[in-house]
């Protein structure tokens, strides 16, 4: 049952194999005339240990998945289970109740019917545990024995361990890729479920957003996501970029072209700290500091309708958050423009700023654009700032002083709402997430291709 015990067992076996193989390899060393092996003793040791561990771990992974099914199968075969309710919630509740008592997680049963099942459970768990331990031992022993018998003074354990190392590294990198795929697949399934209830046209082109998680007969006209897309673009791609592009670019230019090395070594990390501030802290800052300032300023110039939650406040703070992304990409690509270009322009009698404007920035433009695209994809996926400062009202307006909402905000709102999980209002979160995922993926792919082509141009 418990994979931890099995894993510890496998590790113990592996250690034993490791020590035994090492000892064996040292004994070869005395036998061989020159005392030279095809591989160092440690490689022999790792070879045997891996042959024990890898099959055992694979077995444990499979076993931890099938063992609970074996247990419940054997419990249901018990005569005491015959009078359980046939299907549904109650049946599951009774079984879970009995299981948790049997595993010692709860002191006593709630349901009288479960009482009779505790003992069969306990028995079944004990049996599967013993079976698991035996199989782990057998597998570990077989692997160890087979590999141990292959050890010879001229055995190439080194190259075999090398191959195993490569395999482990491939596995590690696959985890990230498979996770991305898994996210995409689960998003896709839930999105398909959503679109079976609400048509994609209503969702993608409707202009009214206001799903009611409580309604039994959801109204498709209240699932129009255009106001959310607009709010996302307006805050993340327009207001935030108006702040981030000039500031990021100018700071990159200052850092690469004007700052002395001493200044640069201070300023660059300081700027990068901005990227390390948790977004929730930016959220406080936006909601508690910037939003009131924006509102007061708006009222001072005579706009009395200004609300305390506004797209402008969220966008401004988001822009500041994004500055390091823009500036570090711009910095890299300006620094990647060959020194010869800069010298060539300066030698023509151009000033530093003319050189930057006419030669360096145009030459670095692809990299700068890619940085901006990455920044946009980061900004439109940002959640905390808008949750705290932009408001929840799905307004379709160009007035930056009004409250607006974004895709990410509504994902949070819908998933943490009161609706049941199969209600379209909750499922709409997945459809929104899917759209957001596709857009940011697209932006990232384009940005990476642009950067790649730019690199090729100079190498």
């Amino acid at each position: 049952m418990s994979p931890t015990i099995l894993l510890l067992l496998a590790l113990g076996l592996g250690l034993a194999g490791w020590l035994a193989a090492r000892a064996r390899a040292y004994s070869f060393k005395r036998e061989v005339p020159a005392g030279r092996l095809a591989a160092l003793p440690n490689y022999h040791a790792w070879y045997v240990a891996l042959w024990i561990l890898i099959p055992a771990v694979i077995f444990i992974a499979v076993w931890s998945y099938i063992a609970p099914q074996l247990v419940s199968g054997s419990v249901l075969a018990n005569p005491a289970a015959a009078n359980l309710p046939e299907f549904g919630f109650e049946r599951r509740a009774i079984l879970n109740d009995a299981a948790s008592v049997a595993m010692g997680k709860s002191p006593a049963v709630f349901n009288e019917q479960a009482k009779a099942l505790v003992e069969p459970y306990r028995e079944a768990i004990g049996q599967t545990r013993i079976i698991g331990i035996i199989i782990t031992l057998v597998i570990g022993f077989l692997g160890g024995a087979w590999s141990f018998l292959r050890l010879r003074p001229d055995f190439g354990a080194r190259t075999r361990v090398e191959r195993a190392v490569m395999g482990i590294l491939i596995l590690a990198s696959l985890v990230a890729i498979l996770t991305t795929l898994g996210i995409l697949i689960s998003l896709t399934f839930e999105t398909i479920r959503f679109f079976s209830m609400i048509s994609p046209t209503d969702f993608l082109f409707g202009t009214h957003w206001g799903p009611d998680p409580m309604s039994t007969n959801p109204d498709p006209t209240r699932f129009g996501a255009i106001p959310l897309f607009w709010g996302t673009i307006y805050i993340g791609a327009i207001i935030a970029m108006i702040v981030a592009i000039p500031l990021g670019l100018m700071s990159a230019i200052y850092l690469t072209q004007y700052a002395s090395p001493a200044w640069r070594s201070w300023l660059k990390p300081a700027l990068e700290i901005l990227a390390g501030v948790p977004t929730v802290v930016y959220g406080y800052f936006a909601a508690l500091t910037v939003a009131p300032i924006v509102r007061d300023a708006a009222i001072a110039v005579g706009i009395s309708s200004a609300s305390s939650e506004s797209a402008l406040a969220a966008g401004l703070v988001m822009g500041v958050m994004i500055i390091p992304f823009v500036s570090s990409m711009a910095d890299d690509s300006i620094a990647a423009v060959p020194q010869a270009m800069r010298d060539g322009s300066l030698a023509m009698g151009a000033t530093t700023s003319e050189t930057i404007k006419r030669v360096l920035v145009p030459a670095a433009l692809p990299g700068i654009v890619a940085g901006i695209m990455l920044a946009i994809s980061r900004a439109i996926g940002e959640t905390m700032i808008v949750v705290m400062a932009a408001g929840a009202a799905a307004n379709l307006t160009a007035n930056p002083l009004e409250a607006m909402t974004t895709v990410t905000f509504q994902i949070v709102a819908m998933l943490t709402g009161e609706g049941s999980f199969d209600h379209p209002a909750t499922l709409s979160a997945f459809a929104l997430g899917f759209v957001l995922f596709l857009v940011t993926l697209g932006l990232n792919i384009i940005a990476l291709r642009v950067v790649k082509r730019f690199r090729e141009a100079y190498e």
Partner: protein, 273 residues
Amino acid sequence: MVSNQPSADTMVPTVEFADANSDLTPKMSARNVCVYYGEKKAIDDVSIDIQTKYVTAFIGPSGCGKSTFLRSLNRMNDTISSARVTGDINLDGEDIHAMDVVHLRARVGMVFQKPNPFPKSIFENIAYGPRIHGLADGKQDLDEIVEKSLRRAGLWDEVKDRLQESGTALSGGQQQRLCIARAIAVDPEVILMDEPCSALDPIATARIEELIDELRGRYAIVIVTHSMQQAARVSQRTAFFHLGKMVEYGVTSDIFTNPREERTKDYITGRYG
């Protein structure tokens, strides 16, 4: 080319500056110039006169400071923060360190070791200098400057139909002639060339050498080269640098046939360097 070289007896002995012929006032003159990179002295007390309508070659083994000295003639060493230049350098009798560096570099152009056209069209590469210095009155004038510069650099016939193509798409030799045309476009008085052929094949090199000879009548040209044959082919004056010092300076044919210094002789005969 060698055939065009003025015969030795018409030349001024340029080593004893005190004896310099009065009707040949130097275009640029350096006196007691030292260049430091941080603590390291890269150029030690160099004095030299550069005359217009001649090609002056700086030769010497790698690391002897010839490029460093060349770069101090248009203050390109200013862009290296650790570099420091002492001594006097004059252009037409005017101290270059007192001049606005922008004006200095417009009068003293430079061509680099590796062709470095801007990633812009051929036209824009040439138009760059005239634009920033405001030399052209309107589009037509600019067109004329571009054509004239490309003609002088011997590139016009090859590129006249594709002026809007990128300058980086040209071959290496064409790129270097584009860079020369770019330097010419602002109508400089001196052109500094820092090993302009070292990244080029022999045919492109021959073409550039021919071009240098054609340009000689109009500008003072200073060329750094590590090829002694090239110095002998294109220059009329040669300065030999060694370990940061200028060992010998004189008429090219004298330097190559009858060097006064033992070190020059050793270098020229290939004993080191």
